[in-house]
């Protein structure tokens, strides 16, 4: 049986802020500035799937430059030293961290997948039967970054029933 879940924009924003202050902006100089634009462009994205008591996906998407900057921050290196493997690894870990914290807010019995990384815009991945239910959309150091949460529609249907 599926359960109604409320993980809203504020919850996501709080998680995102923790990620920024822990890894991407520990000095507090470059926060993610909200744009509230869920159609902002992306060039790369990563996701984790959640199954069990709730079914859906958590997606991290950004420009390639923002992803490279994130990798540089994690790995303590210069942006021009970041390889595609570095960027993919960090994109996967960002989805994992945010997805894991989302899962913690869900009813017991939810399982988190290993992350998936796609070096293409967010809209190149389709999550069948899923709808976007919340998201944080912003600009980080001039580059687009978004974190969104998608709920499986089949799961919604069960709730309605």
């Amino acid at each position: 049986m599926s359960v109604e879940v409320e993980v809203n924009e504020n919850d996501l924003a709080e998680m995102v802020e923790q990620v920024w202050s822990s890894y991407l902006d520990p000095e507090g100089l470059n926060p993610l500035i909200p744009t509230y634009d869920q159609n902002q462009p992306s060039e790369v994205h990563s996701s984790v799937s959640i199954t069990g008591s709730w079914t859906g996906h958590v997606v991290y998407a950004s420009s390639t430059l923002a992803a490279n900057r994130a990798a540089a921050a994690f790995l303590a290196m210069e942006v021009d030293e970041v390889s595609v493997d570095d960027m993919s690894d960090v994109l996967g870990e960002l989805a994992n961290i945010i997805g894991g914290n989302v899962k913690a807010m869900l009813p017991p019995g939810a399982l988190l997948s290993l992350p998936q990384v796609v070096l293409a815009p967010e809209n190149t991945t389709i999550y069948p039967t899923a709808v976007r239910i919340s998201g944080v959309y912003g600009i980080w150091d001039g580059e687009p970054v978004s974190i969104s949460m998608w709920h499986s529609r089949s799961d919604n249907k069960e709730v309605d029933e």
Binding site: S22, P26, F74, A76, E93, I97, A104, L112
Partner: protein, 128 residues
């Protein structure tokens, strides 16, 4: 002193490695629980500390903790789970399996050092 850093993300291993090296540990890396056990088998001296992710391919962190606790040679290792698995039930499972401490991602360097200090693993003079 040696610390084993076990995480399938190289970026996370780098972050943890920087922290333990700051505490004068020599860091040894592994990408999953299976690789960590293989590396431990090759070592003549067992590391004092292992920082362990939960969700990893091949062998997850909980399975690794269970293996370590069943091996008398590895009994003295301090095991710290470092994971996004933050539900109370998961924390209880990890501690019941034999983990000493639990750190939830995301964490700051200071928070990690404070946890390790509570375990008596921070040398005097290192400022968290």
């Amino acid at each position: 002193m040696r610390a084993m850093v076990i995480d399938d993300s190289r970026a996370m291993r780098m972050i943890l490695k920087r922290i333990v090296e700051k505490l004068n540990f020599e860091a040894v890396e592994a990408g999953d629980g299976r690789e960590a056990l293989d590396r431990l088998e090759e070592m003549s001296e067992v590391p004092e500390l292992a920082l362990i992710d939960w969700n990893m391919p091949n062998m997850n962190g909980l399975e690794f903790v269970t293996h370590v606790r069943a091996d008398p040679r590895l009994r003295e290792m301090t095991l710290v789970m470092v994971t996004t698995e933050s539900e109370q039930s998961q924390i209880v499972r990890a501690l019941a399996a034999g983990a000493h401490e639990y750190v939830i991602k995301p964490f700051t360097e200071g928070a990690m050092i404070e946890k390790l200090a509570l375990l008596g693993l921070v040398p005097t003079g290192v400022n968290s």
